[in-house]
C-alpha cells in the first residue's frame, strides 16, 4: 500500500516534471518574444509580457529543479521499498569467486537508507555492493527476521545452529571478507574467526561513523592479538557528508594494516555518485585485483555542477533581461508607429460628445496615450471620482476611439479635466489608467450597453435635480417612461421661447445626438421619443418640443 501511494506520487511528479521540461524546451526553441508573438507583440500588455518573461525564465527553471529533487526523493523511497522475495539460496549454490559481507544485523537499518546524494537513489549497502562487485559477486548471511531480501548483497538464510559453520565455510572460500564494524557478540565472533582462520589480506573492515571509539578499541585489541598494531594508524570514525561509512581498514601484502578515509567530496553529488566516491576511497585495495581507479577531478566536477545549476538561472536571467528589453523596444516602436494615427484620429473625433463633455485632445506622452475630455463646472459633482471610475462612464468615452488604435495601445490614460470658463483646471483632472485587456472588456461592456434609453436612465439617476442648466432655466424633471424621454424645465417669468427658438433648439439637440452613429441607430431601433416641456413655476406651459425617431 505504501509503495502504491509512493508510485502514484512519483507518477504525478514525473508528469509535472515532463510538463515543465517540455515548456522549457518549447520556450527555448521559440526564442525571443519577437519570434513568439511576431506582430501580435504590439498587442501584448507590458506587465503581462514581463510577467510571462519572469514565469518562463525564472519560475520555470526553479520549478524544474524543485520537481527534480522531489522526483529523486520519491524514486529513492520507491526503490528502497522494492525488496526482493526472500532468497532460498544455499551455500552449495555459490560457484566461482565471491565476496562475503558480514555485519551486525541491527546495522541493516542504517545501510538500507539512501546515501543522500542527488545522483544516487540506491542505499548505502547497494552502493558498497556495486563497488565490491567489480571484484566478485557479494553474498551475506540474511537476518532470519527478514520478510523479504533487502536490496544489496545476495542473502543466504541459515538456521541459528548452522550460521557459524556457514560463515566459516564461506569465509575460507571467499575472495574478500568484508566486515562492517558492529557491536554484537556474533559480529565479534566473526572478527575473531576471520582474523584467526583466514588470510588477513582477504579482510576489509568497513568502519562506520560513531560517537565513541569503543568498537575501534575492541578491534585494535583483536588485531593486537594477531600482532597488528593499530596505534600508529589514523582511523576515522567521524561523520561524513554522505552515508554512514567513515573509513576502511585492510591489510597489504606484508600483512600490515592500512586505513583509508572515505572521502565525500563536497558539491559534486549531482555528478559523482556515492559508489564512485567509495571506489575512489578504496583505490589502493582495488589495485590489488588489478582494478585501476582514477581519482575524480573534483574541481572540474564541482565547476561542472555549479555550471549545471547556474545554467538555468544564468540563461534565465539573461533571457529575462533580453525579453524585457524587447518589450520596451516594442512598446516604444508601437508608440512611434502610431503617432500619425493618433494625430489623424484626434482631428476626426467629434468635438462635442454628450452632456456637455467636450473632446479636448489626444496626445502621446512617452508610452502613454493620453486622452483629455473636458466638462463644465456644473457637472463636477456628476463626474465625481466614484462615477468616473465606473466602467459605464469609461466605456462611454472609450467608444469614440477607433478599435484599430485601441488594440495597439500599450498604456492608456483618460483625463477628465475640470473646465471653468474655457480654461482647463488640470489640478482637478482625474486620470483613468486603462490597460489594453481592461480596455477590451470596457468596449464589450459599451457595446452591450449601447441602448440610449439605458444610458439616459442611468444618467438621470445620477443627476441632482433640480439642476440649473442656464440662467433662468432649471431642469426639474428628467425621466424615461417606456420609449418616451421627457425633460421638464421651469422658466423664470419674463422668459419666453418662441417658435423660432424652439426650432433652433430642436436642430441643436438633433445635431448633438447625431454626432454618434450608434446613438442614432439605437434611437431608431428603439423608437425613442424625446419630449421637452418648458413651463413656468405655476405649471403654465410655455413651449413643448417633441422629437420623433424619424427626424434623426
Amino acid at each position: 500500500m505504501k509503495r502504491f501511494i509512493i508510485r502514484i506520487l512519483l507518477c504525478i511528479s514525473v508528469f509535472l516534471l515532463l510538463l515543465f521540461i517540455g515548456g522549457f524546451v518549447q520556450s527555448m526553441l521559440n526564442g525571443e518574444f519577437e519570434q513568439m508573438y511576431g506582430a501580435a507583440l504590439d498587442e501584448l500588455e507590458y506587465y503581462e509580457g514581463i510577467g510571462y518573461a519572469f514565469g518562463k525564465n525564472i519560475m520555470l527553471p526553479t520549478m524544474i529543479i524543485t520537481l527534480t529533487i522531489i522526483t529523486m526523493w520519491l524514486q529513492s523511497i520507491n526503490h528502497r521499498l522494492g525488496s526482493k522475495k526472500k532468497s532460498t539460496l544455499k551455500k552449495e549454490d555459490i560457484q566461482g569467486p565471491f565476496i562475503l559481507y558480514l555485519r551486525s544485523f541491527i546495522d541493516d537499518a542504517n545501510t538500507r537508507k539512501s546515501t543522500n546524494t542527488l545522483s544516487d537513489v540506491t542505499s548505502e549497502e547497494e552502493a558498497l555492493v556495486e563497488v565490491l562487485s567489480d571484484i566478485a559477486p557479494v553474498y551475506a548471511i540474511g537476518n532470519p527476521k527478514d520478510k523479504k531480501s533487502p536490496l544489496g548483497a545476495s542473502r543466504l538464510y541459515v538456521s541459528d545452529d548452522d550460521w557459524k559453520n556457514t560463515v566459516e565455510y564461506l569465509s575460507q572460500r571467499a575472495q574478500v571478507v568484508v566486515l562492517r564494524l558492529g557491536s554484537t557478540d556474533s559480529f565479534w565472533w566473526e572478527v575473531k574467526m576471520a582474523l584467526g582462520k583466514i588470510d588477513k589480506q582477504k579482510i576489509l573492515f568497513v568502519i562506520p561513523e560513531s560517537d565513541s571509539l569503543d568498537s575501534i578499541l575492541v578491534l585494535s585489541r583483536y588485531l593486537l592479538e594477531q600482532n597488528v598494531d593499530m596505534s600508529k594508524m589514523k582511523t576515522s570514525v567521524s561523520k561524513k557528508r554522505f552515508g554512514s561509512i567513515s573509513s576502511f581498514i585492510y591489510f597489504d601484502e606484508n600483512g600490515e594494516a592500512r586505513s583509508s578515509d572515505f572521502v565525500a567530496y563536497r558539491f559534486t553529488s549531482l555528478i559523482l555518485s556515492y559508489a564512485n566516491m567509495l571506489r575512489s576511497s578504496l583505490a589502493d585495495f582495488r589495485k590489488r585485483f588489478g582494478l585501476v581507479t582514477k581519482a575524480p577531478k573534483v574541481r572540474k566536477l564541482r565547476c561542472l555542477q555549479i555550471l549545471i545549476i547556474a545554467y538555468f538561472f544564468i540563461i534565465g536571467a539573461m533571457q529575462m533581461f533580453s525579453d524585457s528589453v524587447t518589450l520596451n523596444i516594442a512598446s516604444k516602436n508601437t508608440i512611434e508607429a502610431f503617432r500619425d494615427d493618433v494625430v489623424r484620429v484626434n482631428e476626426s473625433l467629434p468635438k462635442n460628445i454628450a452632456m456637455g463633455i467636450v473632446w479636448q485632445s489626444m496626445y502621446l506622452d512617452n508610452e502613454y496615450l493620453n486622452i483629455v475630455y473636458c466638462y463644465p463646472e456644473e457637472y463636477f459633482e456628476l463626474f465625481s471620482q466614484d462615477y468616473c471610475d465606473s466602467d459605464e462612464i469609461a466605456s462611454s468615452l472609450i467608444k469614440y476611439i477607433p478599435e484599430s488604435l485601441v488594440n495597439k495601445i500599450i498604456k492608456f490614460n483618460i483625463t477628465l479635466a475640470y473646465h471653468i470658463q474655457n480654461e482647463i483646471d488640470v489640478s482637478q483632472e482625474y486620470v483613468v489608467n486603462i490597460s489594453p485587456s481592461r480596455l477590451k472588456k470596457l468596449r464589450e461592456y459599451a457595446e452591450s450597453h449601447s441602448s440610449v434609453l439605458d444610458v439616459l436612465r442611468s444618467q438621470f439617476e445620477l443627476m441632482e435635480i433640480p439642476l440649473e442648466v442656464e440662467e433662468g432655466v432649471t431642469l426639474i424633471s428628467a425621466e424615461v417612461i417606456g420609449n418616451n424621454v421627457t425633460y421638464i424645465y421651469t422658466l423664470d417669468r419674463g422668459m419666453c421661447i418662441d417658435e423660432e427658438g424652439l426650432l433652433e433648439l430642436k436642430n441643436s439637440i438633433i445635431e448633438d445626438l447625431s454626432s454618434d452613429k450608434n446613438i442614432v441607430k439605437s434611437i431608431k431601433e428603439e423608437g425613442v421619443h424625446f419630449v421637452y416641456v418648458y413651463q413656468y413655476e405655476d405649471g403654465e406651459v410655455n413651449a413643448r418640443l417633441e422629437i420623433l425617431p424619424e427626424e434623426f
Binding site: 515532463l18 560457484q95 566461482g96 567489480d134 585485483f289 588489478g290
Partner: protein
C-alpha cells in the same frame, strides 16, 4: 589449462541499443559488440580485469560502464561466459543522463560454460 576463452554476449536491450560496447581486458581494447552480438577473446592464465565500456561515454556525465575481475582458476571447462545486460533507468533517461546514467550495465559471469 594454458589458455581460457572468454565468450562475451551482449543481451538485446533497449537502452544504449544504438551504441556498441568496447570490450577491454586489462585496459586493452579487444573489440566492440553491438546489441545481441557476441565475441570471443583469449584470456591470459592469470587474474585480469574485463571492462565493458559504452562507446560515447566520454560525452556523458554518468557512464554506462562495468568492470569485473576474472579469476581463471575457477574455470574448469576452458570457457568463461560473460553476459552483458543493460538495464533501463527511466529517471536517468528522462533527465537525459544529467542526474543519473540512462541505464545500468551488469555483467553475469559463468566460470564453467560449455
Amino acid at each position: 589449462m594454458e589458455t581460457i576463452t572468454l565468450r562475451v554476449y551482449r543481451k538485446k536491450a533497449f537502452t544504449g541499443m544504438a551504441m556498441p560496447y568496447a570490450i577491454k581486458i586489462d585496459g586493452v581494447k579487444k573489440g566492440t559488440i553491438k546489441n545481441g552480438e557476441s565475441m570471443e577473446i583469449e584470456l591470459p592464465n592469470h587474474n585480469c580485469v574485463l571492462m565493458v565500456d559504452m562507446v560515447g561515454n566520454s560525452m556523458t556525465l554518468h557512464k554506462l560502464r562495468k568492470e569485473v575481475v576474472l579469476f581463471p582458476e575457477y574455470c574448469s571447462t576452458g570457457v568463461i561466459e560473460c553476459e552483458v545486460d543493460t538495464k533501463n533507468n527511466w529517471l536517468g533517461g528522462l533527465t537525459f543522463g544529467l542526474l543519473q546514467a540512462v541505464g545500468k550495465t551488469t555483467l553475469n559471469i559463468n566460470y564453467n560454460a560449455k
